[in-house]
């Protein structure tokens, strides 16, 4: 078990290095940071001097080695745009993104699971079909449009919910949360729904498909043949077996929730790392972009590991055999 985790961690380090290398080598193509950092009066000589100071003229290998050396110490340099240490910047924005991702993840999972189970059990019901069709609307329009439409309806027309930002946040010292104030919670609703809608649809369809498969399984038929109640069969047996693959894929979805937060955060002016990333792309703020991508990789690696461990807990077949199989 420990060896397994260690091996996984080692793999993760390799993955992160690759991500860092790939992302770092891509930045040379996204634009010239120097031209956005200097005002319009700057001369060619000024730009060249800044480029030299930033080390942008060094060979790629040197730049990358420097980046990695500092990155492993948690130092991603200074943001070209906001002139703050990137690590601080990201840490200060991370709570917003994580809260948004968590809430929308929970929303997606709970609703997706519930509706998925319902539509699987009532496969031929009209309500199931209606839910199945309606859920597709969520994946048939781009996220940004859904966000803007929600703002229009719920913030402008009905004025029920805020259109942007996080509301009042409470500083817990190392974490600023919007969950403790009414305005913070109200501000979460629209972005969380926008972000979670897509995942909700995916999870719901996945749950339904898996559940239909499971309901066909022999052991379900055998459970029925033993006279177990529908409740025990559907929720005790079928649901639990459905959850095994669902957990893996849902876990992976969490990573993409954080990535898709880029769009949601932009639309709702949500002060998270996604919006930070997009602004950084526009400004060619290389240190922030690099740190963000490494962070995403880290989040993914961690989620992956947790999912694997969870899988391990849920599915006894993966656990080490306690006794040899035999007659």
């Amino acid at each position: 078990m420990l060896a397994y985790i260690l091996r996984r961690l080692l793999q993760s380090v390799v993955v992160m290095m690759v991500v860092a290398l790939v992302s770092f080598s891509l930045f040379r193509f996204v634009g010239d940071p120097v031209s956005t950092m200097l005002g319009q009066e700057a001369t060619v000589a000024d730009r060249e001097a800044l480029r030299e100071r930033l080390g942008l003229n060094d060979p790629f290998v040197v730049q990358f080695a420097d980046f990695v050396t500092r990155a492993v110490q948690g130092d991603f340099g200074i943001s070209y745009r906001l002139q703050q240490p990137v690590t601080d910047l990201i840490l200060s924005r991370l709570p917003a993104t994580l809260e948004l991702a968590a809430i929308s993840g929970i929303f997606a999972f709970v609703l997706g699971l519930g509706l998925g189970v319902y539509t699987a059990l009532k496969r031929r019901g009209w309500l199931s079909n209606a839910i199945m069709t309606a859920s597709l609307i969520g994946v048939s329009l781009p996220t940004f449009l859904i966000g803007v439409l929600l703002i229009w309806i719920f913030a402008v027309e009905l004025q029920w919910l805020p259109s942007f930002g996080r509301g009042e946040v409470v500083d817990l010292g190392w974490w600023r949360t919007g969950l403790l104030t009414p305005s913070g919670r109200a501000s979460l609703v629209l972005p969380a729904v926008t972000l979670g809608l897509y995942q909700m649809t995916l999870i719901m369809r996945l749950v339904r498909a898996e559940m239909l498969e499971v309901l066909r399984a022999d052991y379900i038929k055998f459970a029925r043949a033993r006279g177990l109640s529908d409740r025990a069969v559907n929720f005790g047996h079928a649901l639990k077996n459905t959850l095994v693959p669902v957990i893996t894929i849902t876990g992976l979805q969490l990573g993409s929730i954080i990535a898709f937060a880029i769009i949601t955060e932009t639309v709702f002016q949500w002060p998270g790392v996604g919006a930070l990333f997009i602004n950084s792309v526009q400004f060619v703020d290389v240190p922030v972009m690099a740190a963000y991508l490494v962070l995403i990789a880290l989040v993914f690696v961690v989620i992956n590991l947790i999912v694997d461990l969870l899988y391990y807990v849920v599915d006894p077949r993966l656990r080490a055999d306690r006794g040899a199989a035999g007659h």
């Binding site: 022999d218 052991y219 055998f222 043949a225 177990l228 025990a232 077996n241 306690r322 199989a325 035999g326």
Partner: protein, 331 residues
Amino acid sequence: MAEPLLSVRDLVVEFPTRRGTLRAIDRISFDIREGEVLGMVGESGAGKSITGNAIIGLIEPPGRIAGGEILLKGTRIDDLPPEKMRRIRGRRIGMVFQDPLTSLNPLYTVAEQIIETIRTHLGVSEREARERAVALLDRVGIPAARRRIDDYPHHFSGGMRQRVVIALALCAEPELVIADEPTTALDVSVQAQIIDVLKEICAERGAAVMLITHDMGVIAETADRVAVLYAGRMAEIGPVRDVVQDAEHPYTRGLMGSIPTLTHAHDRLTQIPGAMPRLDNIPQGCAFNPRCPEAFDRCRVERPDPIGRGGGRRVACWLYDRAGVKEAGNG
């Protein structure tokens, strides 16, 4: 004779399809007496398993029982509301499926699955249920049952798992066990053991067994009576010794030829050319007539119903219709 444990009367099971309704079971009737072992044989698709599923009320929709009735100790059970039928399943009629590898939920321990079943039906305490489960596992031949009961199914071999399945089918002390090809998926070396365990334990508890198989050899050794199905219809039924030694239906005679003589079983009727018709393409008259070496005109026009032949035997074949208008055409 006492009232039969189970009585199936003119059972019809239909599956609607877009090309019309398919009759998977077409007017089958038979009885199972308390404590007896009824073998049910036939090729794949003959309707054996569907008959078993029909009895415990687990026909897959859109399939449905379209006619006839099923009586358990004289009470109709085919039209019971789902909740009442559920109480019969497991409690009064147990079921053993073909593949022990897939019959057990991989995510629950054996103990959890047995105890759940016992407590569903018998209202005993957790501890009591556990004791019963251990005893039962011990009885079906799981070594060190007390220790292994908390293992997951994947810790057991195929043969052991089928023993667990048998224990599960019997744990609520049913009066009838329907065993649907219980050994087909198993290694040849353990098949006999499983059949023995099943037979012994049912005999001990006085449970009747409906043993579904395509293996005439197993029937010959195990069953008291045998029913032969062909294309959803009953071809012949009678005491196993009579049927094996003196099969009357031409199909049964062919089937007897497929009893394994050496070590491996035949799956098909090597003696009779052709194959069983598909359900949407059953010929007029006797379903067997295109393959029957003894078929005559009437067989191609009129469907034969089982005819009593004495000694509890019935055969659905015009060869034995003495009262028939037309006499057998072959000399």
